[in-house]
Amino acid sequence: MAELSDEELCQSVAKGDRQAFELLVERHQARAYRLACSVLGNEAEARDLSQDAFIRLYESAHRFDGRSRFSTWFYRVLVNLCIDYKRRDKWWRKMLPLAGPGDDPDAPGVDPPAPEEGPEVAAMLGQSTGRLREALERISPNQRIAVLLQAQEGLTSREIAEVLKCSEATARVHIHRGLAQLRKLLRDE
């Protein structure tokens, strides 16, 4: 079974194959967790939501029609969960707003807003991964997701557009702006 593609495993999951599901989880757990962690900026929430994405995968595997790659479909599920979570969350925890100023691809590039430096952020300063996480939190969510999907998962602009439900041109703008912002933020590293 290990030699089966993700798409074939997903078809088996749709038929209730738990072994295929376990294998898909093993293949994608690290990426899913890291992506959720980078989007949400919180390890416990990332753990929880990435697991929820796998549960969603188990329950909706029959909806995967094979028109796109499995990873594109799955990351769309995961990103939607993260976005929904942040939408709900911001009401009572005042986290970063979902639509950041950099999300409008037609707007001129803007500098990221100054972060609210809590003790967690301060503790991360001086650590390279911590700095990256901090920098990622300072760019808009769509830019963050676009850059992560490209850098981490190697998704193409077209696939990222599918995940973000936008045009390919817009996805390219998100990638470009996100990388440009990150370069500026990480320059002094």
């Binding site: 989880v25 757990q29 549960i55 990256l132 850098a151 981490q152 193409t156 390219r172 470009h176 990388l179």
Partner: protein, 170 residues
């Protein structure tokens, strides 16, 4: 020089562009030092992000999967538990709504039993409200649209002979 193809630099690096787009960007890069530099910086940032993401702390995966299995089992159980009473409640609710509708229909039903009378019968039973003469000539009434000139036709015999009418006119 054309405008800088900023957003196409990463797709160019990743070989995502069509042959035509690629040639256009390549042509621009040949002449634009600024874009070449920007492209190299974007590529370096992408590499750095990619490497650093690999360094992010990750959970202990066997514990992660165990937790996931438990969550999945709990969810399946919860759904099963919810489903059983759900079926029972749905059946009960449907029966209740059906009974209520039946009672409403019975309550709204006219008190006199039997089949509802036809229009003609109803008219005959309520003579004070209808023109009996019309009902007696119901066949004609049905053809009223053909008898638009009924008054003229009715008094045809009272008209003077044709010669007389012509004479009067002339």
């Amino acid at each position: 020089m054309t405008s800088h193809p900023e957003t196409e630099l990463v797709p160019f690096l990743r070989e995502e562009l069509s042959a035509e787009e690629r040639a256009r960007v390549q042509h621009h890069l040949d002449d634009c030092e600024l874009c070449r530099q920007a492209m190299n910086e974007l590529a370096a940032t992408m590499r750095r992000v990619s490497v650093r993401l690999e360094e992010l702390p990750t959970p202990e995966w066997s514990a992660y999967r165990r937790e996931l299995r438990l969550k999945l089992a709990a969810r399946t159980e919860r759904r099963a538990r919810w489903w059983r009473p759900a079926v029972a409640w749905t059946t009960l609710a449907t029966a209740g709504v059906g009974a209520a509708m039946l009672a409403f229909v019975l309550w709204m039903r006219p008190s006199s039993p039997g089949i509802a009378p036809g229009v003609d019968q109803l008219a005959m039973e309520q003579p004070e409200t209808v023109d009996i003469g019309l009902l007696r000539n119901y066949g004609m009434v049905e053809k009223l649209d053909l008898l638009e000139n009924y008054d003229v036709i009715e008094h045809l015999d009272e008209l003077p002979p044709a010669e007389q009418r012509n004479g009067t006119r002339s």
